[in-house]
Symmetry: C2
Subunit: 112 residues, 2 copies
């Protein structure tokens, strides 16, 4: 493993950082979730996505109940070090709790 | 324009919602930023991306100083209505203030 110093990252006042999760094959954006330090450590260690649930205030492994695990292909952080991007293999092809592939399935119209 | 009720969206305690911006052609994730209600309204009205700067506490049109405007192709919101996804044409091919195409240019190593 390349050693990575998590202290480089800027977690917010709640100890969280937003995470964009993208399909590594076609780059579809699957979901936006949050990690705390511990969930990022577990993600790096296990090679599977772990997030922090703001509503339940606990760590959760994506797929722990649905079986729709996310196998990590790569992890990036942004220029401000306050956002993460995961490229994953989405087991079962479904990331959303609604049964859709992506959580972003509703469109807003634009004027122009 | 399809009418869209912005009140459907859940802005956070600071009145902001996170926004993933993606290249409409190859789905590359370019940046993560934030919008308040007014910036989303301006984005919908003008067809160009407007964000809210947390550091400067003001509205900004992406590209207003660099010329790297983002022309909106489509806007999506997620299952929880607390995150947005923009598909854009990135003018100049550069979205990051560092001069890179994407803000997510640094990789974190993974164990497995």
């Amino acid at each position: 493993m390349k050693s990575f110093d998590i202290d480089v990252l800027k977690f917010n006042e709640r100890g969280l950082i937003p995470v964009i999760t993208q399909d590594y094959q076609d780059n579809a954006v699957l979901m936006l979730a949050y990690m705390n330090r511990e969930s990022l450590e577990k993600t790096i260690e296990t090679g599977r996505a772990w997030y922090f649930s703001r509503s339940r205030q606990k760590l959760w492994q994506k797929g722990e109940t649905s079986g729709h695990f996310q196998n990590i292909k790569s992890i990036y952080y942004d220029c401000d070090a306050d956002a993460l991007l995961l490229k994953v293999e989405q087991v079962g092809g479904i990331s959303c709790h609604t049964g859709k592939r992506s959580c972003f399935f509703r469109e807003i119209g634009v004027d122009s």
